[in-house]
């Protein structure tokens, strides 16, 4: 693959640049729109360069909220989303780690049955089981609560499966050496398995955080109290403002803010994330 052909270099750069433009353009437009007063956006031409209302628009959404969308400050919604995303992520990782540990390292009756039971739930996305889940959550009185927002989404077949696959690659002798070293099941898990899973946990953290952050349908169903609205559903509500045109400049500012946390997570954990996906040496 190490070739030096000028045309190829030019061509591949062109493709890369094109790809970047296609990806970045909408974000750029979003950003630009969030810095203009509403009139500039509504007059038919989309501005290409940032306007002068950056501080004003962002201060509005962060502080007072958008009156026509219920007036919930974006800060509250960001906080709700953060709580939900973190609960889902940490809960999923914790449960999956423990489940995979049980399936791989312990010999109990119906072990494979348990594994397959978990595995086949992979085939059922949230949307398929959303009505029964809603009924259960409603009967438990968990509507309009953080627990109701996150708990039903915590069980994860995917993460359990990934950890199981990883545990299977850990040499059996390691567990035996630990046994000889006097480490019981809990110590082995805590001292050896958990540190070895570090990169896998990081990779899953990134994926699951974004998954949790982007939840839309579920929060829409279980929250009626505005103080529990999450940012993703908040954006949707802003665009459907009653009896007036959507305040696009503020919607765009909110969108920019909603994008920020996942981006931060990816950037901060990028190194571990990539390592977790490619690392083979145990």
């Amino acid at each position: 693959m190490v070739e030096n052909r000028p045309y190829l270099t030019v061509l591949s750069h062109l493709v890369v640049i094109l790809g970047i433009i296609i990806t970045v353009m909408p974000i750029w437009i979003t950003f630009v729109a969030s810095t203009h007063p509403i009139e500039h956006i509504m007059d038919g031409t989309i501005p290409m360069w940032p306007g002068d209302k950056f501080f004003e628009n962002y201060a509005t959404v962060l502080g007072a909220g958008v009156a026509d969308a219920g007036g919930i400050p974006v800060g509250t919604m960001l906080f709700n989303s953060l709580v939900m995303a973190l609960s889902i992520t940490i809960g999923k990782i914790a449960i999956s780690l423990i489940a995979a540990y049980a399936i791989v390292y312990f010999d109990f009756p119906f072990r494979m049955a348990c594994f397959w039971l978990i595995f086949i739930t992979l085939m059922l996305p949230v949307e398929v089981r959303i009505l029964p889940t809603f009924a259960v959550v409603a009967n438990l009185g968990l509507l309009n609560s953080y627990v109701g927002l996150s708990l039903p989404l915590i069980a994860s077949a995917t993460a359990t499966f990934l950890f199981r696959q990883f545990f299977l690659t850990v040499p059996e002798e390691l567990a035996e050496a630990a046994r000889i070293d006097g480490a019981g099941p809990w110590k082995f898990f805590k001292d050896i398995l958990l540190p070895l899973s570090r990169t896998n946990i990081a990779a899953l953290f990134v994926i699951l955080f974004i998954y949790g952050w982007n939840q839309y349908l579920w929060p829409l169903l279980v929250t009626t109290d505005e103080s529990f609205y999450t940012i993703v559903m908040g954006i949707q509500r802003m665009t459907q403002a009653a009896e007036s045109l959507p305040l696009w400049h503020l919607v765009m500012a909110t969108t920019m803010l909603a994008m920020l946390p996942p981006v931060i997570v990816v950037v901060v954990m990028q190194k571990l994330f990539v390592k977790g996906l490619v690392e083979t040496e145990k």
Binding site: P171, E173, L174, E176, A177, A178, R179, I180, D181, G182, A183, K187, D191, I192, P195, L196, R198, E281, K282
Partner: protein
């Protein structure tokens, strides 16, 4: 430091596979016992039963006067060195060695003393702050040894610890392990499939085959007086030649099925007329000047420098392969050679393979 006694030890897996058929073995304090045998003979299973990693189906394992059948590995006062070292990849060398001691709740300064002492013995002090993946194979091997030493166990268990090393390092580590074991005087059980390793390291050898101990004895005993054809061919390199024949009238020679005749150094009149397997080691065959012995058609000559290996088949029997080890050089260009057995000839029953 302790004695190790196995009596009637059996292993039957839940699926009914009978892996170990009753092994009796007494190991003296400080003795170095090597379990040797081909793949699947049960040697590793036996070792793992002593370690406590496999349950004992029947019989008892006794370490230092204490039956340990139902004890956890950590409570058996043993230390084990694994084939792939099984070092904890995320821990520094120091922590790898200290981990077991910490789990026992040992005082920090005592742990430190032991780890540094073991590191001194094994010459790995400069590596204490490194991680296993920054070490070479030989160094990892030493760390694995160190992890065993710091426990100051009654019994050392080695599960093919040298098979992941290259040939040169293997010879070096072989000597080191043996020297270390001598110095520490710890009773040791060592599993290998390499008969050279077994012969050079063992005080006594246990040759295993199909879940049974074929023969237990010192390396020289096994070499000089193998009890079965299995031991005869397994111990010694190249393998002993086995030739079928019938003991002649008067018991002074064996008439081989291929036609040749081999003289017996000690006449066995009691065996006259009996069908036997005659065993003679390659190094105990010499060219016969007087035309006696058997004619060997040469297929291949390997010059090793100090000696020469002649590979051939018996005149009159294409399938009966024979190897001869000659000291010194061998004049090339010959396509057959007349060989006779010197003093060391072994006779085995043709049916049972047992020594007679």
């Amino acid at each position: 430091m302790a004695e190790l006694h196995l009596s009637g030890v059996q292993k039957i897996y839940p699926n009914g596979y009978h892996a170990i058929h009753g092994i009796d073995l007494g190991v003296a304090d400080g003795e170095f016992i090597v379990l040797v045998g081909p793949s699947g003979c049960g040697k590793s299973t036996l070792l793992r039963m002593v370690a406590g990693l496999e349950t004992v189906s029947d019989g008892t394992i006794d370490i230092g006067g204490r039956v340990v059948n139902n004890l956890e590995p950590a409570d058996r006062d043993i230390a084990m060195v694994f084939q792939n070292y099984a070092l904890y990849p995320h821990m520094k060398v120091y922590d790898n060695m200290a981990y077991g001691l910490r789990n026992r709740g040992m005082a920090k300064d005592e742990i430190d003393r032991r780890v540094r002492e073991a590191a001194g013995i094994l010459e790995i002090e400069p590596m204490l702050d490194r991680r296993p993946n920054q070490l070479s194979g030989g160094q990892r091997q030493r760390v694995a040894m160190g992890r065993a030493i710091v426990r100051e166990p009654s019994v050392f268990l080695f599960d093919e610890p040298l098979s992941n090393l290259d040939a040169k390092l293997r010879v070096q580590m072989r000597v080191e392990i043996k020297r270390l074991q001598r110095r520490l005087g710890i009773t040791s059980l060592y599993v290998t499939h390499d008969q050279v390793e077994a012969m050079t390291m063992a005080d006594r050898l246990v040759v295993m085959n199909g879940g049974r101990a074929e023969q237990i004895g010192t390396p020289i005993e096994l070499y000089d007086r193998p009890e079965t054809t299995f031991v005869a061919t397994f111990i010694g390199s190249p393998s002993m030649n086995l030739l079928e024949g019938t003991v002649a009238e008067g018991g002074t020679s064996v008439a081989l099925d291929s036609g040749a005749s081999i003289n017996l150094p000690d006449p066995r009149a009691d065996l006259a007329g009996r069908s036997v397997t005659l065993g003679v080691r390659p190094e105990h065959l010499t060219p016969a000047a007087d035309g006696s012995g058997m004619t060997l058609r040469l297929d291949l000559v390997e010059a090793l420098g100090a000696d020469t290996l002649l590979h051939g088949h018996l005149d009159g029997d294409e399938r009966r392969l024979v190897t001869v080890r000659l000291s010194g050089h061998f004049a090339p260009g010959q396509d057959s050679v007349q060989v006779a057995a010197t003093d060391a000839v072994h006779l085995f029953d043709r049916e049972t393979g047992g020594r007679i």
